[in-house]
Symmetry: C2
Subunit: 414 residues, 2 copies
């Protein structure tokens, strides 16, 4: 626990120096950190081998082992990520608004760093470099709590980043890693309000729920996506089939994949058999309500299916009689991530856009577009499913706050 105190203090000290770093300096450090990661590939791979050996010994599943594995190409990818962040415009110092009220004060709203950001994540070591890059570019110190499975890899990456910071005369405590990955320390970390301004959990729904329940630091919830596509009575059914196929199968296991289909009664007979055929190319299992099953043979959906993020080759199917019913169903079961309507009817599209409560609401496009790169932010720290501070894909701006700089000429309040 003393260690936590020390890490918190170190981050806080770095914060005041990072806040005033120039854009040039930050970009220089990011590019040099990228070079250093590549230069120290062997060292990072050696550390990763230890993690991999331990993971195999523990009987970790193939999918998790693959997420843990580093290769020279993956390290080059991490470096390229840092270089891309260096190329993005720096939001810090930007004047968001300015105005002069009757008092004659000039009130300027200026973008500033959040301060110290805590990130809690699971096995993927590439998050380590990525989170550092995004936080550093926005003048924030970052405290990382990665999973115990990736501890050696994360340590090696943070060492290389810190060596670069030291060589560039920047505070090394701009990035810290909790080496103690116990639950007790994680619990204490989540209560470190006096040092940490915001906590961002990245990982499974379970991890995120634990952080929300236990943190006294403000949390940005990211993650789970129970995304729906509603095929309206006025849909172009060919377009609908292609979009559902893409959103369900283009990449399985991602939060913006489609998990549930909602179909209008009037088109279900024409649409469902065609869609089922298309999805059978990827062996997608359909689970439908009674009306869906009457149109096309499929398994029966139970209540739990409507609320499940499968992250796999399964799609639930619900039949409705109107846009309003589709909206009610979606607002009841969704996780506030991404939802789509397929329709040629403008009024239906507008109603859906207005009434569905989610970070991203699409007309005639795949839900798979919800990410920071596709949204043109150039990078992403996660996808927020809450409404406070940031919603949807979070780019650099989501890691900033603002302050008011106010210029007077002796004004006092009457």
């Amino acid at each position: 626990m003393e260690l936590l105190e020390q890490i918190g203090q170190g981050a806080k000290e770095a914060e005041s120096l990072l806040r005033i770093l120039s854009e040039e300096k930050k970009n220089m450090v990011l590019n040099r950190a990228a070079d250093a990661l590549v230069k120290h590939t062997d060292r990072i791979l050696a550390a990763n081998e230890k993690d991999m050996a331990r993971g195999k010994e523990k009987g970790m599943k193939a999918g998790l082992l693959d997420r843990l594995l580093l290769t020279p190409e993956r390290i080059e990818g991490m470096a390229e990520g840092l270089r891309q962040i260096a190329d993005l415009p720096d939001p810090i110092g930007q004047v968001i608004k300015e105005h002069t009220p009757p008092s004659g004060l000039l009130i300027r709203q200026v973008r500033v760093p959040l301060g110290v950001i805590g990130i809690i994540y699971e096995a993927r070591p590439n998050v380590t470099a990525d989170a550092f890059g995004l936080c550093f570019k926005t003048g924030n110190a970052v405290v990382l709590r990665g999973g115990s499975d990736a501890l050696y890899s994360n340590r090696a990456i943070v060492e290389v980043l810190r060596e670069t910071l030291a060589a560039c005369e920047c505070p090394v405590t701009a990035v810290s890693l909790l080496s103690d990955t116990s639950r007790e320390t994680a619990a204490a970390f989540m209560k470190l309000n006096r040092y940490i301004d915001v906590l961002i959990p990245r990982g499974s729904a379970g991890l995120i729920a634990t952080v929300v329940q236990n943190s006294t630091i403000p949390v940005i919830e990211t993650g789970s996506g129970n995304c729906h596509i509603y095929v309206d009575e006025a849909a172009d059914l060919n377009m609908a089939a292609e979009i559902v196929f893409n959103a369900k199968t283009q990449r399985i296991g991602v939060c913006n994949a489609c998990e549930s289909l909602v179909v209008h009664e009037k088109v279900k007979d024409a649409f469902l058999p065609v869609l089922a055929k298309r999805l059978s190319e990827k062996q997608v299992e359909l689970r439908g309500d009674e009306r869906a099953r009457a149109s096309c043979p499929m398994k029966e959906a139970c209540e739990a299916d409507w609320g499940t993020e499968y992250l796999g080759y399964i799609l639930s199917v619900k039949v409705v009689d109107s846009v309003s019913e589709a909206v009610s169903h979606i607002n009841r079961y969704n996780t506030g991530h991404s939802e789509a309507i397929i329709t040629e009817d403008k009024a239906h599209a507008e109603q859906f856009l207005r009434e569905v409560d989610a970070a991203a609401v699409y007309v005639n496009a795949s839900t798979r577009f919800t990410d920071g790169f596709e949204f043109g932010f150039g990078a992403e720290i996660g996808i927020s499913t809450q409404k406070l501070h940031a919603r949807g894909p979070m780019g650099l701006e989501a890691l900033t706050s603002y302050k008011y700089e106010i210029y007077g000429t002796g004004q006092v309040r009457g």
Copy 2:
């Protein structure tokens, strides 16, 4: 606890209807609610008399009794507050940004309500109408948990508001009041994540700390202000004396009042005696460090003084040798509210503006200007001292989130 569940569900149901109310309708309801409060003055005053009688019986202090007291004028003030909110522009539906990335999607960021807002506050019954007005204007449902001392008054006000909502065919659960003001229910209320999107505590530092420690709902911290004024070596000393006098004495007991003076070594001898004389008009007690006491007779400040928000006629005085030392002192002891520098030196002003970490940083003006009306927002739900979501005075925009509305023509992800 069952009651909480019912209140949460009611608010959630209202949310989906409020989200799509037109600006005209919302303004009509606000103006009619204002009329209804005035019309039912006698009923509200009768309820308030019960609270006042109980307060006197309990031996409540005069200051608290005054905050609890309603009069026809104060009810007219509440009504006028609602009318002013009706006159403000509605931020909901505003397009914040829009762009088209290479995919050809039109991505539009649109302002939407937060959803359901919880407000926890203490004895002042005027907050009840005010919080309803701000939340309703921004399409949010609100659940109020006022202090037990004002329960009869708050109930009467909420009854009048709900009668207006019903008469206007709006969901009455747009505003709810927790009648059970026990600690247990307050604790359960703070964990109502599934119904409440954000919790805003308004009141003492103790109340706010309790909410931050116990809430699993995202909290916007408002409140305490340990505000500093730094009188630089290049200050206009007459201006400095007037500004400090104003910030300290114009209104005692408010969060943007000045609590601590920081003075440059080079001007302390010329400034402190003059200031002490000016502040003696209001019997302000000075508490200084050694160097301050050498310039001007005053009490000795102890370590605790630097971190104390007096909310009274006391001012601590610290002498420093540079802008940097002033900044370090302020960043160590402030609460992130409002800080000022008095100087004619532009470089010193810029350094102070950039390096001081607070919601509002002033050059040559009184810290008393930090509020929603002075900032031109027309209304205020509180002053945020955190960096997430909203910082500084919070007007209507602070009660909103955004969603992305995305228009495609069949795009799928490659």
